[in-house]
Symmetry: C2
């Protein structure tokens, strides 16, 4: 396949909606990230938090909830499998890349 | 600390320059990502590749080179330690968050 190898076509590229890393203490990690970065807390509870950066977001999740993953908004996410609707209203399906890295294929809206 | 908790101040937030995941076969992974996403190959050799998405980039690195990490452009990156100049001209220092997640603190230019 040959998708947009011309880097001038930025508007046509897919967007990385968020990246999720695993933390053991959400409140402590939110405090650490806020102390070290200019980021905004979009959501926070005891099980996860979402930190907004200028160009994408970082999710801090506890181990029981999700694997570390990258959420990418794609056309026709359902081509990767049945979509699940999440508590925040997004719809997605998890897929592994050839090395087992977890990717969350997200519908655009 | 209280950095920009007002989400209207997007221009002041730090940017995520790239996220790096580990792959075993760079060429095979580049082909897989291009088959599944609209992304552009900014750089590729046998040891790593850089894929451009609409809002940030994804680095595919072989295990010997780097840990999985998140590269974030920050003010005064040297506050995190001595900066190293890399083969692509960027200057950065690696730091672990409280849970051992690797972060690359990058100077802005």
């Amino acid at each position: 396949m040959d998708h947009n190898t011309d880097t001038t076509e930025q508007a046509a590229l897919d967007s990385i909606h968020h990246l999720a890393i695993v933390v053991t203490d959400v409140a402590a990690s939110v405090a650490w990230y806020q102390a070290n970065f200019k980021c905004a807390v979009t959501y926070q509870d005891a099980t996860w938090a979402l930190l907004k950066f200028a160009n994408t977001s970082m999710a801090l999740v506890i181990p029981a909830q999700h694997p570390p993953h990258i959420g990418i908004q794609v056309d026709d996410a359902a081509r990767f499998g049945p979509l699940t609707t999440h508590r925040d209203g997004t719809r997605s399906v998890y897929v592994n890349d050839p090395d087992g890295n977890a990717l969350e294929m997200m519908a655009r809206a």
